[in-house]
Protein backbone atom coordinates (compact mmCIF):
# COMPACT_ATOMS: atom_id res chain seq x y z
CA UNK A 1 0.00 0.00 0.00
CA UNK A 2 1.68 3.22 -1.13
CA UNK A 3 0.55 6.79 -0.81
CA UNK A 4 0.84 9.43 -3.52
CA UNK A 5 4.54 9.90 -2.86
CA UNK A 6 5.14 6.17 -3.28
CA UNK A 7 6.00 5.71 0.38
CA UNK A 8 5.04 2.46 2.05
CA UNK A 9 2.08 3.19 4.34
CA UNK A 10 1.26 0.98 7.32
CA UNK A 11 -2.17 -0.67 7.37
CA UNK A 12 -2.42 0.04 11.10
CA UNK A 13 -0.66 2.83 12.93
CA UNK A 14 -0.75 3.09 16.71
CA UNK A 15 0.44 6.37 18.15
CA UNK A 16 0.89 6.46 21.90
CA UNK A 17 -2.27 4.42 22.45
CA UNK A 18 -3.49 4.36 26.03
CA UNK A 19 -6.32 2.55 27.76
CA UNK A 20 -7.15 2.79 31.43
CA UNK A 21 -10.00 1.56 33.56
CA UNK A 22 -10.18 3.96 36.46
CA UNK A 23 -6.79 3.78 38.13
CA UNK A 24 -5.71 0.68 36.24
CA UNK A 25 -3.62 1.20 33.11
CA UNK A 26 -4.13 -1.64 30.63
CA UNK A 27 -2.19 0.03 27.81
CA UNK A 28 0.53 2.59 28.52
CA UNK A 29 1.54 4.39 25.40
CA UNK A 30 1.69 1.83 22.61
CA UNK A 31 3.28 2.99 19.38
CA UNK A 32 3.71 0.62 16.46
CA UNK A 33 3.12 0.28 12.75
CA UNK A 34 1.72 -2.87 11.25
CA UNK A 35 2.49 -3.43 7.61
CA UNK A 36 0.09 -4.41 4.87
CA UNK A 37 -0.03 -8.19 4.40
CA UNK A 38 2.15 -9.23 7.31
CA UNK A 39 1.49 -11.85 9.94
CA UNK A 40 1.86 -9.86 13.13
CA UNK A 41 1.74 -11.32 16.64
CA UNK A 42 1.09 -9.73 20.00
CA UNK A 43 2.92 -11.94 22.47
CA UNK A 44 2.98 -11.66 26.22
CA UNK A 45 1.96 -13.24 29.52
CA UNK A 46 -1.68 -13.02 30.61
CA UNK A 47 -2.64 -9.54 31.77
CA UNK A 48 -0.02 -7.79 29.63
CA UNK A 49 -2.69 -5.94 27.63
CA UNK A 50 -2.39 -7.85 24.35
CA UNK A 51 -6.09 -8.77 24.18
CA UNK A 52 -7.07 -5.23 25.20
CA UNK A 53 -4.95 -3.89 22.34
CA UNK A 54 -6.60 -6.29 19.89
CA UNK A 55 -10.04 -5.25 21.12
CA UNK A 56 -9.23 -1.56 20.74
CA UNK A 57 -8.23 -2.24 17.14
CA UNK A 58 -11.50 -4.15 16.62
CA UNK A 59 -13.44 -1.26 18.17
CA UNK A 60 -14.80 -3.08 21.23
CA UNK A 61 -12.82 -0.84 23.57
CA UNK A 62 -12.52 2.91 23.24
CA UNK A 63 -9.10 4.52 23.45
CA UNK A 64 -8.38 6.55 26.55
CA UNK A 65 -5.62 8.38 24.74
CA UNK A 66 -3.49 8.36 21.61
CA UNK A 67 -4.43 7.68 18.01
CA UNK A 68 -5.32 4.61 16.01
CA UNK A 69 -5.49 4.68 12.23
CA UNK A 70 -6.46 1.82 9.98
CA UNK A 71 -5.56 2.20 6.34
CA UNK A 72 -4.88 5.89 6.89
CA UNK A 73 -8.24 6.64 8.52
CA UNK A 74 -8.53 7.77 12.11
CA UNK A 75 -10.68 5.24 13.97
CA UNK A 76 -11.86 7.65 16.63
CA UNK A 77 -15.64 7.22 17.08
CA UNK A 78 -15.76 4.60 14.33
CA UNK A 79 -17.84 1.77 15.82
CA UNK A 80 -16.80 -1.87 15.54
CA UNK A 81 -19.48 -2.77 13.01
CA UNK A 82 -18.13 -0.44 10.33
CA UNK A 83 -14.40 -0.95 10.86
CA UNK A 84 -12.53 -2.83 8.12
CA UNK A 85 -11.49 -5.48 10.60
CA UNK A 86 -12.95 -8.87 11.45
CA UNK A 87 -12.20 -11.05 14.40
CA UNK A 88 -11.83 -14.70 15.29
CA UNK A 89 -12.81 -14.96 18.94
CA UNK A 90 -11.10 -17.13 21.50
CA UNK A 91 -14.36 -19.03 22.09
CA UNK A 92 -14.99 -18.88 18.29
CA UNK A 93 -18.45 -17.41 19.09
CA UNK A 94 -20.17 -19.66 16.57
CA UNK A 95 -23.90 -18.83 16.53
CA UNK A 96 -25.33 -22.09 17.89
CA UNK A 97 -28.83 -21.69 16.48
CA UNK A 98 -27.67 -21.28 12.88
CA UNK A 99 -26.27 -23.72 10.35
CA UNK A 100 -22.63 -23.62 9.22
CA UNK A 101 -23.60 -21.79 6.02
CA UNK A 102 -25.73 -19.25 7.91
CA UNK A 103 -22.83 -18.64 10.27
CA UNK A 104 -20.32 -18.13 7.48
CA UNK A 105 -22.72 -15.96 5.48
CA UNK A 106 -23.79 -13.86 8.49
CA UNK A 107 -21.63 -10.90 7.53
CA UNK A 108 -23.18 -10.80 4.03
CA UNK A 109 -26.64 -9.95 5.40
CA UNK A 110 -26.16 -6.26 4.71
CA UNK A 111 -24.23 -6.66 1.47
CA UNK A 112 -26.13 -5.79 -1.72
CA UNK A 113 -25.71 -9.21 -3.27
CA UNK A 114 -28.19 -11.67 -4.78
CA UNK A 115 -28.97 -14.92 -3.01
CA UNK A 116 -26.94 -16.88 -5.56
CA UNK A 117 -23.91 -14.65 -5.16
CA UNK A 118 -24.09 -14.98 -1.39
CA UNK A 119 -24.40 -18.77 -1.63
CA UNK A 120 -21.40 -18.85 -3.98
CA UNK A 121 -19.30 -16.73 -1.61
CA UNK A 122 -20.23 -18.95 1.34
CA UNK A 123 -19.28 -22.06 -0.65
CA UNK A 124 -15.94 -20.45 -1.60
CA UNK A 125 -15.20 -19.51 1.98
CA UNK A 126 -15.99 -23.03 3.20
CA UNK A 127 -13.82 -24.48 0.46
CA UNK A 128 -10.96 -22.20 1.51
CA UNK A 129 -10.96 -23.51 5.10
CA UNK A 130 -11.43 -27.11 4.02
CA UNK A 131 -15.07 -27.49 5.04
CA UNK A 132 -16.59 -28.10 1.63
CA UNK A 133 -20.07 -29.60 1.91
CA UNK A 134 -20.51 -28.75 5.59
CA UNK A 135 -22.89 -25.85 4.90
CA UNK A 136 -26.13 -27.53 5.96
CA UNK A 137 -24.78 -28.88 9.25
CA UNK A 138 -25.91 -27.50 12.59
CA UNK A 139 -23.15 -25.34 14.02
CA UNK A 140 -23.41 -26.66 17.57
CA UNK A 141 -22.59 -30.19 16.42
CA UNK A 142 -19.09 -29.33 15.14
CA UNK A 143 -15.76 -30.38 16.68
CA UNK A 144 -13.30 -27.82 18.07
CA UNK A 145 -11.17 -27.72 14.93
CA UNK A 146 -14.21 -27.38 12.70
CA UNK A 147 -15.64 -24.54 14.79
CA UNK A 148 -12.35 -22.76 14.40
CA UNK A 149 -12.51 -23.15 10.63
CA UNK A 150 -16.09 -21.86 10.55
CA UNK A 151 -15.01 -18.85 12.63
CA UNK A 152 -12.17 -18.20 10.16
CA UNK A 153 -14.41 -18.50 7.09
CA UNK A 154 -17.00 -16.23 8.72
CA UNK A 155 -14.41 -13.55 9.47
CA UNK A 156 -12.73 -13.75 6.06
CA UNK A 157 -15.87 -13.65 3.92
CA UNK A 158 -16.11 -9.86 4.22
CA UNK A 159 -12.52 -9.55 2.96
CA UNK A 160 -11.41 -7.34 5.84
CA UNK A 161 -8.25 -5.27 5.62
CA UNK A 162 -7.10 -6.81 8.88
CA UNK A 163 -8.01 -10.14 10.47
CA UNK A 164 -7.77 -10.20 14.26
CA UNK A 165 -7.20 -13.53 15.99
CA UNK A 166 -7.65 -13.74 19.76
CA UNK A 167 -5.77 -16.83 20.99
CA UNK A 168 -7.50 -18.91 18.33
CA UNK A 169 -5.53 -22.09 18.96
CA UNK A 170 -5.53 -22.22 22.74
CA UNK A 171 -8.62 -24.45 22.96
CA UNK A 172 -7.27 -27.10 20.59
CA UNK A 173 -5.23 -30.15 21.52
CA UNK A 174 -1.52 -30.22 20.68
CA UNK A 175 -1.73 -32.11 17.40
CA UNK A 176 -4.64 -30.09 16.07
CA UNK A 177 -2.90 -26.90 17.15
CA UNK A 178 0.23 -27.71 15.15
CA UNK A 179 -1.85 -28.53 12.11
CA UNK A 180 -3.80 -25.27 12.39
CA UNK A 181 -0.58 -23.27 12.78
CA UNK A 182 0.65 -24.33 9.36
CA UNK A 183 -2.80 -23.94 7.90
CA UNK A 184 -3.28 -20.42 9.24
CA UNK A 185 0.08 -19.44 7.75
CA UNK A 186 -0.89 -20.94 4.38
CA UNK A 187 -4.25 -19.18 4.48
CA UNK A 188 -2.65 -15.86 5.32
CA UNK A 189 -0.28 -16.11 2.32
CA UNK A 190 -3.17 -17.15 0.10
CA UNK A 191 -5.52 -14.26 0.95
CA UNK A 192 -2.78 -11.68 1.52
CA UNK A 193 -4.71 -10.05 4.35
CA UNK A 194 -2.87 -8.64 7.37
CA UNK A 195 -3.29 -11.03 10.31
CA UNK A 196 -2.85 -9.89 13.90
CA UNK A 197 -2.56 -12.81 16.30
CA UNK A 198 -2.78 -12.57 20.08
CA UNK A 199 -0.99 -15.40 21.86
CA UNK A 200 0.78 -16.22 25.09
CA UNK A 201 2.59 -19.15 23.45
CA UNK A 202 6.06 -17.95 22.39
CA UNK A 203 6.65 -20.99 20.21
CA UNK A 204 3.44 -20.36 18.31
CA UNK A 205 4.39 -16.73 17.79
CA UNK A 206 7.87 -17.67 16.52
CA UNK A 207 6.52 -20.29 14.11
CA UNK A 208 3.78 -18.17 12.58
CA UNK A 209 4.77 -14.53 12.58
CA UNK A 210 6.62 -12.18 10.27
CA UNK A 211 7.01 -9.82 13.19
CA UNK A 212 6.23 -10.05 16.89
CA UNK A 213 5.51 -7.39 19.48
CA UNK A 214 6.43 -8.68 22.93
CA UNK A 215 4.28 -6.98 25.56
CA UNK A 216 4.73 -6.64 29.30
CA UNK A 217 2.50 -4.61 31.60
CA UNK A 218 0.74 -2.64 28.92
CA UNK A 219 3.83 -1.73 26.94
CA UNK A 220 5.65 -3.13 23.94
CA UNK A 221 9.03 -4.35 25.19
CA UNK A 222 10.38 -5.30 21.77
CA UNK A 223 9.00 -5.37 18.23
CA UNK A 224 11.06 -7.49 15.88
CA UNK A 225 11.28 -10.48 13.59
CA UNK A 226 11.19 -13.91 15.30
CA UNK A 227 14.90 -14.48 14.60
CA UNK A 228 15.94 -11.11 15.89
CA UNK A 229 13.78 -11.51 19.02
CA UNK A 230 15.28 -14.87 19.79
CA UNK A 231 18.89 -14.04 18.99
CA UNK A 232 18.97 -10.43 20.19
CA UNK A 233 16.38 -9.81 22.94
CA UNK A 234 16.69 -6.23 24.11
CA UNK A 235 16.01 -6.92 27.79
CA UNK A 236 16.54 -9.85 30.13
CA UNK A 237 12.76 -10.07 30.50
CA UNK A 238 12.27 -10.62 26.76
CA UNK A 239 15.16 -13.11 26.70
CA UNK A 240 13.60 -15.08 29.53
CA UNK A 241 10.11 -15.01 28.07
CA UNK A 242 11.14 -16.33 24.66
CA UNK A 243 12.84 -19.70 24.92
CA UNK A 244 15.48 -20.37 27.57
CA UNK A 245 18.33 -17.97 28.21
CA UNK A 246 21.22 -18.22 30.64
CA UNK A 247 22.37 -15.07 32.36
CA UNK A 248 25.83 -14.44 33.77
CA UNK A 249 26.95 -11.38 35.70
CA UNK A 250 29.28 -9.25 33.62
CA UNK A 251 31.12 -5.96 33.44
CA UNK A 252 31.42 -4.12 30.17
CA UNK A 253 33.33 -1.19 28.84
CA UNK A 254 32.20 0.65 25.74
CA UNK A 255 35.23 2.49 24.41
CA UNK A 256 33.63 3.53 21.11
CA UNK A 257 30.57 2.54 19.11
CA UNK A 258 32.16 -0.45 17.44
CA UNK A 259 34.31 -1.80 20.22
CA UNK A 260 32.57 -3.27 23.25
CA UNK A 261 34.55 -5.30 25.72
CA UNK A 262 32.83 -7.68 28.14
CA UNK A 263 34.15 -9.55 31.14
CA UNK A 264 31.58 -12.26 31.93
CA UNK A 265 31.74 -14.46 35.03
CA UNK A 266 32.88 -17.97 34.17
CA UNK A 267 33.46 -17.17 30.50
CA UNK A 268 36.15 -14.54 30.62
CA UNK A 269 36.90 -11.58 28.40
CA UNK A 270 35.33 -11.08 24.99
CA UNK A 271 34.91 -8.38 22.38
CA UNK A 272 31.42 -8.09 20.96
CA UNK A 273 29.75 -6.18 18.13
CA UNK A 274 27.20 -3.35 18.58
CA UNK A 275 24.30 -5.58 17.48
CA UNK A 276 24.97 -7.72 20.58
CA UNK A 277 23.85 -4.80 22.70
CA UNK A 278 20.27 -4.56 21.31
CA UNK A 279 18.88 -2.85 24.39
CA UNK A 280 21.40 -0.04 24.17
CA UNK A 281 23.98 1.20 26.68
CA UNK A 282 22.64 2.47 29.99
CA UNK A 283 25.57 3.57 32.16
CA UNK A 284 25.26 2.66 35.83
CA UNK A 285 22.89 -0.28 35.26
CA UNK A 286 23.80 -3.77 36.50
CA UNK A 287 25.28 -5.61 33.60
CA UNK A 288 24.83 -9.19 32.53
CA UNK A 289 25.27 -11.30 29.45
CA UNK A 290 22.73 -13.74 28.08
CA UNK A 291 23.52 -16.88 26.15
CA UNK A 292 21.15 -19.52 24.68
CA UNK A 293 21.54 -23.20 25.73
CA UNK A 294 21.95 -24.52 22.19
CA UNK A 295 24.71 -22.07 21.23
CA UNK A 296 27.06 -23.81 23.64
CA UNK A 297 28.28 -27.38 23.62
CA UNK A 298 30.06 -29.62 26.07
CA UNK A 299 33.30 -31.07 24.72
CA UNK A 300 33.89 -34.71 25.33
CA UNK A 301 37.15 -36.20 26.55
CA UNK A 302 39.69 -35.81 23.79
CA UNK A 303 37.52 -33.53 21.64
CA UNK A 304 39.23 -30.36 20.45
CA UNK A 305 37.78 -27.10 19.18
CA UNK A 306 38.85 -23.67 17.95
CA UNK A 307 35.96 -22.08 19.87
CA UNK A 308 36.37 -20.48 23.27
CA UNK A 309 36.32 -22.96 26.16
CA UNK A 310 35.12 -22.47 29.74
CA UNK A 311 35.41 -25.01 32.53
CA UNK A 312 32.59 -26.19 34.81
CA UNK A 313 30.88 -29.19 36.43
CA UNK A 314 27.81 -31.17 35.35
CA UNK A 315 25.36 -30.74 38.26
CA UNK A 316 22.33 -32.44 36.75
CA UNK A 317 20.93 -33.60 33.46
CA UNK A 318 17.60 -34.42 31.80
CA UNK A 319 17.61 -36.97 29.02
CA UNK A 320 14.89 -36.33 26.39
CA UNK A 321 15.81 -38.96 23.82
CA UNK A 322 16.75 -36.67 20.97
CA UNK A 323 18.29 -34.08 23.30
CA UNK A 324 20.02 -33.96 26.65
CA UNK A 325 19.69 -30.86 28.82
CA UNK A 326 22.68 -30.41 31.11
CA UNK A 327 22.72 -28.19 34.17
CA UNK A 328 26.32 -26.99 34.31
CA UNK A 329 27.96 -24.68 36.80
CA UNK A 330 30.92 -22.79 35.45
CA UNK A 331 33.84 -22.31 37.81
CA UNK A 332 33.51 -19.04 39.70
CA UNK A 333 29.75 -18.61 39.03
CA UNK A 334 26.97 -19.01 41.65
CA UNK A 335 24.07 -19.94 39.40
CA UNK A 336 24.13 -22.98 37.12
CA UNK A 337 23.26 -22.68 33.44
CA UNK A 338 21.43 -24.91 30.96
CA UNK A 339 23.19 -26.37 27.94
CA UNK A 340 21.28 -28.44 25.41
CA UNK A 341 23.03 -31.06 23.31
CA UNK A 342 21.78 -33.16 20.42
CA UNK A 343 22.27 -36.86 21.17
CA UNK A 344 24.32 -37.67 18.07
CA UNK A 345 25.56 -41.19 17.34
CA UNK A 346 28.74 -41.97 19.27
CA UNK A 347 28.38 -39.06 21.65
CA UNK A 348 28.19 -40.31 25.23
CA UNK A 349 25.80 -38.82 27.80
CA UNK A 350 27.87 -37.34 30.63
CA UNK A 351 27.36 -38.31 34.26
CA UNK A 352 26.55 -35.99 37.12
CA UNK A 353 29.63 -34.56 38.81
CA UNK A 354 31.98 -34.87 35.83
CA UNK A 355 34.01 -31.95 34.62
CA UNK A 356 32.54 -30.19 31.62
CA UNK A 357 34.52 -28.20 29.07
CA UNK A 358 31.99 -25.78 27.58
CA UNK A 359 32.64 -24.45 24.09
CA UNK A 360 31.06 -21.09 23.27
CA UNK A 361 31.32 -18.17 20.83
CA UNK A 362 31.53 -14.48 21.53
CA UNK A 363 28.98 -13.92 18.71
CA UNK A 364 26.21 -15.68 20.64
CA UNK A 365 26.48 -13.37 23.66
CA UNK A 366 23.88 -10.69 24.26
CA UNK A 367 24.83 -7.88 26.59
CA UNK A 368 22.23 -6.26 28.82
CA UNK A 369 23.64 -3.05 30.14
Amino acid sequence: MKDTLGVERPIIALENVEKYYGEYYALRGISAEIRQGEFFSLLGPSGCGKTTLLRTIAGFEELSGGRLTIDGKDMKRVPANVRPTNMVFQSYAIFPHLTVAENVGFGLRREPLSRDEKARKVAEALEMVGLRGYGARAAHALSGGQRQRVALARALILEPKVLLLDEPLSALDKKMREQMQTELRRLQRQVGITFILVTHDQEEALIMSDRIAVMFEGQIAQLDTPQQLYRRPNTRQVGEFIGVMNFLPATATVSDETHIEVEAAGLGRAVIAPDQLPGGWHPGQTQSVGIRPETMSILFPGETTDRRVAIGTVEDLSYYGDMTYYVVRLDGVDRPMTISMKNLVGRPVLDRGTEARVAWDARSLVLFA
Partner: protein, 266 residues
Protein backbone atom coordinates in the same frame (compact mmCIF):
# COMPACT_ATOMS: atom_id res chain seq x y z
CA UNK B 1 -34.64 -47.23 54.73
CA UNK B 2 -38.06 -48.76 54.83
CA UNK B 3 -39.43 -46.16 57.22
CA UNK B 4 -37.98 -43.40 55.03
CA UNK B 5 -39.78 -44.77 52.02
CA UNK B 6 -43.02 -44.95 53.98
CA UNK B 7 -42.50 -41.37 55.07
CA UNK B 8 -41.99 -40.27 51.49
CA UNK B 9 -45.17 -42.01 50.37
CA UNK B 10 -47.22 -40.52 53.23
CA UNK B 11 -45.81 -37.10 52.42
CA UNK B 12 -46.85 -37.38 48.79
CA UNK B 13 -50.35 -38.53 49.80
CA UNK B 14 -50.66 -35.57 52.15
CA UNK B 15 -49.51 -33.26 49.35
CA UNK B 16 -51.65 -34.54 46.52
CA UNK B 17 -54.69 -36.27 48.03
CA UNK B 18 -56.68 -33.02 48.41
CA UNK B 19 -55.98 -32.18 44.78
CA UNK B 20 -57.02 -35.69 43.75
CA UNK B 21 -60.34 -35.10 45.53
CA UNK B 22 -61.14 -32.21 43.19
CA UNK B 23 -61.86 -34.24 40.05
CA UNK B 24 -63.51 -37.01 42.09
CA UNK B 25 -66.21 -34.69 43.45
CA UNK B 26 -66.37 -32.66 40.28
CA UNK B 27 -67.83 -35.69 38.54
CA UNK B 28 -69.93 -36.81 41.55
CA UNK B 29 -73.69 -36.65 41.17
CA UNK B 30 -74.51 -35.01 44.52
CA UNK B 31 -74.29 -31.62 46.22
CA UNK B 32 -72.73 -32.89 49.43
CA UNK B 33 -68.97 -33.33 49.45
CA UNK B 34 -68.85 -36.71 51.18
CA UNK B 35 -68.34 -40.40 50.50
CA UNK B 36 -69.90 -42.65 49.30
CA UNK B 37 -70.02 -41.23 45.76
CA UNK B 38 -73.44 -41.04 44.24
CA UNK B 39 -72.76 -41.51 40.54
CA UNK B 40 -71.11 -39.93 37.50
CA UNK B 41 -72.29 -36.60 36.10
CA UNK B 42 -71.11 -33.74 33.89
CA UNK B 43 -73.77 -31.51 35.42
CA UNK B 44 -71.32 -29.26 37.27
CA UNK B 45 -69.19 -28.63 34.21
CA UNK B 46 -72.32 -27.69 32.25
CA UNK B 47 -73.37 -25.30 34.99
CA UNK B 48 -70.02 -23.52 34.67
CA UNK B 49 -71.12 -22.37 31.22
CA UNK B 50 -74.20 -20.60 32.57
CA UNK B 51 -72.75 -18.20 35.16
CA UNK B 52 -72.02 -14.71 33.68
CA UNK B 53 -70.23 -13.50 36.84
CA UNK B 54 -67.83 -16.41 36.53
CA UNK B 55 -67.14 -15.61 32.87
CA UNK B 56 -66.39 -12.01 33.77
CA UNK B 57 -64.00 -13.18 36.49
CA UNK B 58 -62.23 -15.56 34.09
CA UNK B 59 -61.86 -12.84 31.48
CA UNK B 60 -60.59 -10.40 34.09
CA UNK B 61 -58.08 -12.94 35.37
CA UNK B 62 -56.86 -13.73 31.87
CA UNK B 63 -56.29 -10.05 31.08
CA UNK B 64 -54.46 -9.54 34.36
CA UNK B 65 -52.37 -12.71 33.93
CA UNK B 66 -51.36 -11.88 30.36
CA UNK B 67 -50.43 -8.29 31.25
CA UNK B 68 -48.50 -9.36 34.35
CA UNK B 69 -46.64 -12.06 32.43
CA UNK B 70 -45.67 -9.68 29.64
CA UNK B 71 -44.51 -6.89 31.96
CA UNK B 72 -42.69 -9.23 34.37
CA UNK B 73 -40.90 -10.96 31.49
CA UNK B 74 -39.81 -7.68 29.89
CA UNK B 75 -38.45 -6.49 33.24
CA UNK B 76 -36.87 -9.91 33.71
CA UNK B 77 -35.07 -9.72 30.36
CA UNK B 78 -33.59 -6.33 31.23
CA UNK B 79 -32.54 -7.39 34.72
CA UNK B 80 -31.11 -10.75 33.64
CA UNK B 81 -29.12 -9.19 30.81
CA UNK B 82 -27.76 -6.45 33.04
CA UNK B 83 -27.00 -8.92 35.81
CA UNK B 84 -25.13 -11.38 33.62
CA UNK B 85 -23.31 -8.93 31.35
CA UNK B 86 -22.30 -5.89 33.29
CA UNK B 87 -20.57 -5.12 36.53
CA UNK B 88 -21.94 -2.07 38.31
CA UNK B 89 -21.76 -0.78 41.87
CA UNK B 90 -24.34 -2.28 44.20
CA UNK B 91 -25.21 -5.04 41.72
CA UNK B 92 -25.57 -7.78 44.31
CA UNK B 93 -27.69 -5.62 46.59
CA UNK B 94 -29.99 -4.49 43.80
CA UNK B 95 -30.53 -8.00 42.44
CA UNK B 96 -31.07 -9.28 45.98
CA UNK B 97 -33.79 -6.68 46.60
CA UNK B 98 -35.49 -7.54 43.30
CA UNK B 99 -35.54 -11.22 44.28
CA UNK B 100 -36.90 -10.49 47.77
CA UNK B 101 -40.66 -10.80 46.95
CA UNK B 102 -39.91 -14.47 46.31
CA UNK B 103 -39.64 -15.04 50.06
CA UNK B 104 -41.58 -12.06 51.44
CA UNK B 105 -44.99 -13.01 52.93
CA UNK B 106 -47.55 -12.08 50.30
CA UNK B 107 -49.94 -10.68 52.85
CA UNK B 108 -47.35 -8.07 53.85
CA UNK B 109 -46.77 -7.06 50.24
CA UNK B 110 -50.52 -6.88 49.68
CA UNK B 111 -51.25 -4.78 52.77
CA UNK B 112 -48.36 -2.38 52.11
CA UNK B 113 -49.39 -1.93 48.50
CA UNK B 114 -52.98 -1.28 49.58
CA UNK B 115 -51.87 1.30 52.15
CA UNK B 116 -49.66 3.09 49.63
CA UNK B 117 -52.35 3.14 46.94
CA UNK B 118 -54.98 4.43 49.35
CA UNK B 119 -52.61 7.09 50.68
CA UNK B 120 -51.93 8.23 47.14
CA UNK B 121 -55.69 8.32 46.56
CA UNK B 122 -55.46 6.06 43.53
CA UNK B 123 -58.55 3.99 42.61
CA UNK B 124 -58.27 0.21 42.92
CA UNK B 125 -58.87 -1.85 39.82
CA UNK B 126 -57.39 -4.45 37.53
CA UNK B 127 -54.28 -2.34 37.01
CA UNK B 128 -53.43 -2.35 40.71
CA UNK B 129 -53.67 -6.16 40.70
CA UNK B 130 -51.34 -6.21 37.69
CA UNK B 131 -48.95 -4.00 39.64
CA UNK B 132 -48.91 -6.42 42.55
CA UNK B 133 -48.60 -9.47 40.33
CA UNK B 134 -45.68 -7.99 38.40
CA UNK B 135 -43.95 -7.56 41.75
CA UNK B 136 -44.54 -11.22 42.56
CA UNK B 137 -43.72 -12.62 39.11
CA UNK B 138 -40.60 -10.61 38.25
CA UNK B 139 -38.28 -12.60 40.58
CA UNK B 140 -39.42 -15.83 38.93
CA UNK B 141 -38.86 -14.35 35.47
CA UNK B 142 -35.39 -13.16 36.45
CA UNK B 143 -34.43 -16.53 37.89
CA UNK B 144 -35.52 -18.32 34.71
CA UNK B 145 -33.97 -15.77 32.34
CA UNK B 146 -30.74 -15.60 34.35
CA UNK B 147 -30.09 -19.23 33.54
CA UNK B 148 -30.85 -18.54 29.88
CA UNK B 149 -28.52 -15.52 29.70
CA UNK B 150 -25.77 -17.11 31.76
CA UNK B 151 -25.40 -19.99 29.33
CA UNK B 152 -24.78 -17.48 26.50
CA UNK B 153 -21.22 -16.71 25.39
CA UNK B 154 -20.63 -12.94 25.72
CA UNK B 155 -18.61 -13.02 22.49
CA UNK B 156 -21.67 -13.99 20.43
CA UNK B 157 -23.12 -10.49 20.32
CA UNK B 158 -19.67 -9.00 19.76
CA UNK B 159 -19.14 -11.38 16.85
CA UNK B 160 -22.39 -10.19 15.26
CA UNK B 161 -21.37 -6.54 15.77
CA UNK B 162 -17.96 -7.34 14.31
CA UNK B 163 -19.72 -8.73 11.23
CA UNK B 164 -21.55 -5.47 10.62
CA UNK B 165 -24.67 -5.59 12.78
CA UNK B 166 -25.65 -2.83 15.20
CA UNK B 167 -26.02 -3.42 18.92
CA UNK B 168 -29.77 -3.74 18.62
CA UNK B 169 -29.82 -5.95 15.53
CA UNK B 170 -27.25 -8.31 17.00
CA UNK B 171 -29.40 -8.60 20.13
CA UNK B 172 -32.41 -9.31 17.95
CA UNK B 173 -30.66 -11.75 15.60
CA UNK B 174 -28.44 -13.63 18.04
CA UNK B 175 -29.36 -13.17 21.70
CA UNK B 176 -33.13 -13.08 21.39
CA UNK B 177 -33.52 -16.38 19.48
CA UNK B 178 -31.09 -18.07 21.86
CA UNK B 179 -32.93 -16.95 25.01
CA UNK B 180 -36.40 -17.34 23.43
CA UNK B 181 -37.07 -20.68 25.16
CA UNK B 182 -36.32 -18.92 28.46
CA UNK B 183 -38.66 -16.07 27.55
CA UNK B 184 -41.52 -18.46 26.71
CA UNK B 185 -40.88 -20.38 29.90
CA UNK B 186 -40.89 -17.13 31.89
CA UNK B 187 -44.15 -15.96 30.25
CA UNK B 188 -45.91 -19.23 31.05
CA UNK B 189 -44.76 -19.39 34.65
CA UNK B 190 -45.60 -15.75 35.33
CA UNK B 191 -49.00 -16.28 33.70
CA UNK B 192 -49.69 -19.31 35.91
CA UNK B 193 -48.60 -17.53 39.08
CA UNK B 194 -50.77 -14.52 38.32
CA UNK B 195 -53.77 -16.64 37.38
CA UNK B 196 -53.67 -18.58 40.67
CA UNK B 197 -52.73 -15.71 42.97
CA UNK B 198 -55.32 -14.84 45.62
CA UNK B 199 -54.05 -12.63 48.44
CA UNK B 200 -52.83 -9.65 46.40
CA UNK B 201 -55.81 -9.90 44.08
CA UNK B 202 -58.18 -10.00 47.08
CA UNK B 203 -56.67 -6.84 48.58
CA UNK B 204 -56.11 -4.82 45.44
CA UNK B 205 -58.97 -5.77 43.17
CA UNK B 206 -61.65 -3.18 42.61
CA UNK B 207 -65.22 -4.04 41.64
CA UNK B 208 -64.26 -6.81 39.17
CA UNK B 209 -63.00 -9.85 41.07
CA UNK B 210 -60.38 -12.17 39.61
CA UNK B 211 -61.13 -15.87 39.33
CA UNK B 212 -59.59 -16.92 42.69
CA UNK B 213 -61.41 -14.09 44.45
CA UNK B 214 -64.67 -15.11 42.75
CA UNK B 215 -64.15 -18.74 43.84
CA UNK B 216 -63.53 -17.65 47.40
CA UNK B 217 -66.76 -15.67 47.32
CA UNK B 218 -68.72 -18.69 46.09
CA UNK B 219 -67.53 -20.90 48.96
CA UNK B 220 -70.13 -19.25 51.17
CA UNK B 221 -72.86 -21.14 49.31
CA UNK B 222 -72.61 -24.90 50.04
CA UNK B 223 -74.71 -25.88 47.03
CA UNK B 224 -72.16 -24.20 44.74
CA UNK B 225 -69.26 -26.29 45.97
CA UNK B 226 -69.48 -29.06 43.31
CA UNK B 227 -69.32 -26.36 40.63
CA UNK B 228 -66.21 -24.95 42.26
CA UNK B 229 -64.76 -28.46 42.26
CA UNK B 230 -65.34 -28.67 38.52
CA UNK B 231 -63.73 -25.28 38.02
CA UNK B 232 -60.78 -26.33 40.21
CA UNK B 233 -60.29 -29.45 38.13
CA UNK B 234 -60.00 -27.39 34.98
CA UNK B 235 -57.58 -24.96 36.67
CA UNK B 236 -55.31 -27.73 37.97
CA UNK B 237 -55.20 -29.32 34.54
CA UNK B 238 -54.41 -25.99 32.87
CA UNK B 239 -51.66 -25.17 35.39
CA UNK B 240 -49.97 -28.54 34.96
CA UNK B 241 -50.05 -28.22 31.18
CA UNK B 242 -48.65 -24.68 31.24
CA UNK B 243 -45.84 -25.58 33.65
CA UNK B 244 -44.95 -28.65 31.61
CA UNK B 245 -44.70 -26.51 28.46
CA UNK B 246 -42.60 -23.96 30.36
CA UNK B 247 -40.16 -26.63 31.53
CA UNK B 248 -39.99 -28.13 28.06
CA UNK B 249 -38.91 -24.77 26.63
CA UNK B 250 -36.41 -24.14 29.41
CA UNK B 251 -34.72 -27.50 28.79
CA UNK B 252 -34.72 -27.00 25.06
CA UNK B 253 -33.01 -23.65 25.55
CA UNK B 254 -30.31 -25.26 27.67
CA UNK B 255 -29.79 -28.01 25.09
CA UNK B 256 -29.65 -25.55 22.22
CA UNK B 257 -26.76 -23.56 23.59
CA UNK B 258 -24.98 -26.81 24.42
CA UNK B 259 -24.69 -26.14 28.15
CA UNK B 260 -25.06 -28.41 31.14
CA UNK B 261 -28.48 -28.20 32.82
CA UNK B 262 -28.10 -26.08 35.97
CA UNK B 263 -31.63 -26.96 37.08
CA UNK B 264 -34.75 -24.84 36.85
CA UNK B 265 -37.76 -24.60 39.09
CA UNK B 266 -39.15 -27.99 38.18
Amino acid sequence: MKSLRLYAILYLIFLYAPIALLPIFAFNDGTVIAFPLKGFTLEWFKELLTIPALHAAVLNSLIIAVSSALIATCLGICAARAGTRFAFPGKKGILGLIMLPLVLPEIIVAVSLLVVLLQLGLPLGSWTVVLGHVLMCTPFSIAILNSAFQSLDVSLEEAAIDLGETRWSSFRLITLPLVMPGIISSLLIAFTISLDEFIIAFFLTGTNPTLPVYIWGQLRFPQKIPVIMALGTILVLASVILLAIAEYFRRRGVARTGQADAGGFL
